[in-house]
């Protein structure tokens, strides 16, 4: 098509455009068919999904799927709703995968999720009871065969002392039976089916609940066979009373009750861990704002966070822009080669690069001190001020290729005739750049700068990989250092040692997000003014 049109292409821009539009007007039916085909596929997938969800009895999700499908069909068959036709696919993905994560994090901020409160109450109870099984002292190992009768499982046990066969179930204590023996081990008994080991392996849950009382006296313990072959006698040190919803320590008699804090707690406040997840209202937020340990370093860390984010954005943007402008000259040779080199830092895993940089900045052995500065002892990563400078240098290295690519693309949106007109008016290159190109460019890239600011504000990984926040402040009691930013500091508070307090961390995260979002929204307002220029 184009080939026949282009040689005779009219000379003026307007005419060229008109020709292209006329050409475009000649392909209608294919698109409609394609639209119907795509919608058919979407509907087919939806019908399949509804079917699957129906078999799983997931009614709420099913209703959502149906509603979304109906909405999608409406949007695409309707003659109105034009913007929705273009936005729907992206919004569906955004809601399912991003908004969900956001809401989940928000929800966790209102729970006690973290070390010791990791799962459900049911899991906590079963885990507590499992750990409370103590083997009866000096009791032998009993060879065991798992047997079944009408859906009831039993253990066929050989007494190692007497050689007798004993049979019992969860309800029926062990009693002597006549059994077939194989090599001194009872393997079968009349009326019961002996289960082969392969089958026993699939009966994990059944066997876990199969605790056979040794006798009528509970103090003799119960027999369990964790591997389906050997039985051991256990007594439990904890007892769970489902009606009272409390756990009793059988040795001390202490009662641990569910008092709504997500763990069984005794009267004196001792908790049995693991506990479980419960919602705790605004507790985490209250702790986040009243936490005294972050008071000391808070101001200096906040200042550094802003300095870090602003300088990172500015330095990467200006270097990227400079390079994009430098290579935006058709008379320059090797442009393509240079451009490839410029994006290379972006093509390697960031943690690898960070490690190399850390190695190069090593005080006594690093390349920078040893080779470039001829054996100097410059404490690149261990002096508070230099460590900050080093972080900014490494972040510049990691980030300028992104800005270079973005500026390279955005520059193409600036019409060349603007430039020519300005040259005619006698403007010098700097004036053209400052007065014309930069404002035009900012229309496109200003939102990216805001977003890049937000990214760096929370750039936990870089800090973690390069300095871990160090060098540490010497006058505070939490392990926070001179290069820690807000997000890395609050993680250190919420994740002390082996304790992971996801609830507290989420609350901190939400507070930081509110700060960043406010700054960003205000900035977006400003860029709106820029946009009107266009």
């Amino acid at each position: 098509m184009t080939e026949t049109v282009e040689p005779t292409a009219p000379q003026t821009t307007r005419q060229r455009r008109a020709a292209r539009i006329a050409e475009a007007a000649s392909v209608p039916i294919g698109w409609i068919l394609l639209k119907i085909l795509l919608l058919a596929v979407v509907d087919a997938v939806a019908v399949y999904a509804v079917f699957v969800l129906f078999t799983h009895a997931e009614w709420l999700i099913l209703a959502v799927v149906v509603a979304v499908t109906v909405l999608v069909n409406y949007i695409y068959f309707s003659r109105k709703r034009v913007p929705a036709k273009y936005l729907t696919p992206g919004i569906i993905f955004l809601v399912v995968f991003q908004v969900f994560t956001l809401l989940y994090t928000g929800y966790i901020g209102f729970t006690n999720y973290g070390t010791g409160h990791n799962g459900s109450k049911e899991q906590a109870v079963s885990s507590l009871l499992a750990s409370a099984q103590e083997r009866v002292e000096d009791s032998p190992t009993f060879p065991v065969t798992v047997v079944e009768q009408f859906g009831t499982y039993g253990l066929l046990v050989t007494d190692p002392d007497s050689g007798d066969a004993l049979l019992g179930t969860a309800d029926q204590p062990l009693q002597q039976v006549q059994a077939e023996f194989d090599g001194g081990k009872a393997v079968a008994v009349d009326g019961w089916t002996t289960l082969p080991l392969a089958t026993v392996f699939t009966l994990s849950e059944e066997l876990e609940n199969l605790s056979v009382p040794f006798s009528d006296d509970p103090n003799d313990g119960s027999l369990r066979a964790p591997d389906g072959q050997s039985g051991y006698l256990y007594v439990s040190t904890l007892e769970y009373d489902a009606d009272a919803d409390a756990i009793t320590d059988t040795q001390t008699g202490t009662v641990y009750a569910d008092i709504g804090t997500g763990a069984f707690t005794a009267d004196d406040g001792t908790e049995l861990l693991p506990g479980w997840q419960v919602t705790v209202g605004f507790d985490n937020f209250v702790r986040a704002v009243t936490d005294s340990s972050i008071r000391g370093p808070l101001i200096s860390v906040t200042i550094w966070t802003f300095v870090f984010a602003i300088i990172s954005v500015a330095s990467t943007f200006f270097l990227g822009l400079l390079l994009a402008l430098v290579f935006n000259n058709t008379r320059m040779r090797f442009r393509n080669g240079y451009r490839i080199i410029m994006i290379l830092p972006y093509a390697f895993p960031a943690f690898l690069s960070a490690l190399v940089w850390a190695g190069m900045m090593n005080e006594s052995f690093g390349f920078i001190n040893q080779v470039i500065f001829g054996g100097a002892d410059i404490p690149w990563l261990t002096d508070p001020t230099l460590a900050k400078v080093s972080i900014l240098i490494v972040n510049l290295w990691l980030g300028f290729p992104y800005m270079f690519l973005v500026c390279m693309g955005a520059l193409q949106g600036i019409p060349e005739d603007v430039n020519e007109a300005a040259v005619m008016d006698g403007a010098n290159p700097w004036q053209i750049f400052r007065r014309i190109k930069l404002p035009l460019l900012l229309v496109t890239v200003a939102p990216l700068l805001i977003s890049s600011f937000a990214f760096n504000f929370n750039n936990f990984n870089l800090i973690y990989m390069l300095t871990g926040g160090g060098p540490r402040f010497s006058d505070v009691s939490i392990p926070v250092g001179h290069t820690d930013i807000l997000i890395s500091m609050v993680y250190k508070v919420a994740f002390t040692g082996q304790t992971r307090d996801y609830g507290l961390a989420s609350a901190f995260t939400i507070l930081i997000f509110l700060v960043v979002a406010t700054i960003s929204i205000v900035s977006f307002r400003k860029t709106k003014a820029l946009e009107e220029l266009n």
């Binding site: 008109a18 034009v82 995968f97 690069s353 600036i414």
Partner: protein, 295 residues
């Protein structure tokens, strides 16, 4: 091009420097800055027994043992990782560009209630610190996988879908800004000729915004290639994993870290990115070149 060359030769050195010479100076200085740390990586990849940063004697030993080792070790299916990464990153990149361009078109050319708020929202949503993203994504994908195993854990499709959750975002804004630089008279003229919104989008606008599509595609591709956190949770079996996930396992335990094989793998992994850039570069700067030579 021939004419350009002779013109350069005729000019004096001073003029040459003022025009393009200084550009080379900038380019060389920044190239050294950009390349230097990577020399360590290349050097480590060529030294089969060496450490990554233990020595400043770069290229003290040269051999391709590590490349052979990483390519042939059955425990580390590098070739599968490579293929998986290309597939996942290409599909993610292409679909991201498409979804993002659609949204940018709507934001740029249509006026509807909630437009401004919508634009800001999609960017601000992605500023949320991803602290618990892994836990949330794992929960979501394992539940989805119970119902639809084809998009659950350990599937490429599932991972791509998660990545597409980020298709609307700051890239949409980048495209939106670029779309705005395309004169609206074009659409209006077409509309007067009876073209619908879809035809204007697919046949007129998309062509004019090719540079930004190429940039966004490249950004999305590189971003996907280097993504570790989500990929490491979703892709479980070694044969399903991506390059970063697979390679990271080689060095995760500092006591047994095989930096040489890791570096070799990382060097080879950078090649598709470079090829894609070479390929897309024409689109990114193509319009300008065409304009300049014609003018």
């Amino acid at each position: 091009m021939g004419t350009t060359d002779t013109r350069v030769r005729r000019r004096s050195a001073g003029a040459w420097f003022a025009d393009t010479g200084w550009r080379h100076v900038v380019a060389i200085v920044v190239s050294i800055f950009a390349l230097f740390p990577l020399l360590y990586v290349v050097s480590a990849s060529l030294n089969p027994k060496g450490t990554l940063t233990g020595s400043n004697q770069l290229f003290s030993a040269i051999g391709i043992d590590s490349y052979v080792r990483i390519l042939t070790d059955p425990q580390n299916p590098y070739v599968s990782w490579f293929g998986n990464t290309l597939l996942i990153a290409s599909v993610t990149g292409a679909v991201t560009v498409f979804i993002g361009a659609c949204a940018a078109y709507a934001f740029s050319r249509m006026r509807f209630a909630g437009r401004r708020v919508g634009l800001v929202t999609i960017v601000v949503v992605q500023m949320f610190p991803q602290l618990l993203a892994v836990v949330a994504i794992f929960l979501l994908m394992s539940t989805l996988g119970d119902w639809f195993p084809a998009i659950g854990l350990n599937t490429h499709t599932g991972l791509i879908l998660v990545y597409l959750g980020g298709a609307l975002g700051v890239n949409t804004y980048l495209m939106y800004g670029f779309f705005n630089t395309i004169p609206k008279e074009l659409d209006e003229a077409a509309r007067i000729d009876g073209a619908g919104h879809a035809r204007i989008f697919f046949t007129i606008i998309l062509r004019l915004v090719a540079p930004i599509l190429a940039v966004v595609g490249l950004l999305s591709f590189i971003g996907t290639v280097n993504e570790y956190v989500i990929a490491s949770v979703i892709l479980i079996e070694p044969e399903q994993q991506t390059l970063v996930v697979g390679l990271t396992k080689l060095v995760a335990n500092p006591r047994y870290a095989d930096w040489s094989a890791f570096s070799a793998g990382a060097v080879m992994a950078a090649i598709p990115v470079m090829i894609l850039f070479l390929f897309l570069q024409r689109y990114i700067v193509g319009g300008l070149t065409a304009g300049a030579t014609k003018g």
